[in-house]
Symmetry: C2
Subunit: 121 residues, 2 copies
Amino acid sequence: MSAEDVRAVIEEWARAVRNHDLAGVLAHHTEDVRIFDVPAPTQARGLAAYRTAWELFFEYSSEDLTFDLTELEVEAGDSVAFGHALLMLMGAPIRLTVGLRKVEDAWLISHEHHSVPGEAA
Amino acid sequence: MSAEDVRAVIEEWARAVRNHDLAGVLAHHTEDVRIFDVPAPTQARGLAAYRTAWELFFEYSSEDLTFDLTELEVEAGDSVAFGHALLMLMGAPIRLTVGLRKVEDAWLISHEHHSVPGEAA
């Protein structure tokens, strides 16, 4: 089942974050991943930039980091899929959207969008 | 071409926003759309909530609203697709991700994520 496989990729990624496992965090991404991260800049591209963001994150994270994936929903087709969820980071909700493409039978994340809502207008 | 069709849906949506065309903005969404919007709340669900958000937006928008879609990239499979872009709203960049599913030969948006980056850590 494609949707189950996509869900597993996203859950493994979140588990790798909790475990401070940088290789695991990077294991399911495309080289050209486009990143809309919580802090500035507006966007970044590529695995090298993605790695740098997580190195910085882990540098400032405690050993008992919580990073719980909740309300994950996935839609998967033959070769393209996306998922959206809330990530509870030390109690604060972060919105997560990921886009994936199938590459040689493996689902890889080619787009990742994290955000926190702004103040209501 | 699926990717071209998906791109057209997203571009029509942005054009409808520019034209203050509420029916056009709502025309290509699923009833169960999950919304991660710029202002709070963290998330919302359904076309009714989506409509309310745009009614509020238009209430506070000037007639000469700029809402330009730039750097749009789309990945489309047989029945699922996603796209990501920057929206220039009166000169400020908003990150946009949309997820779509094919329903009776039409591409409909079932997930929409808008955000602005926070301050750098």
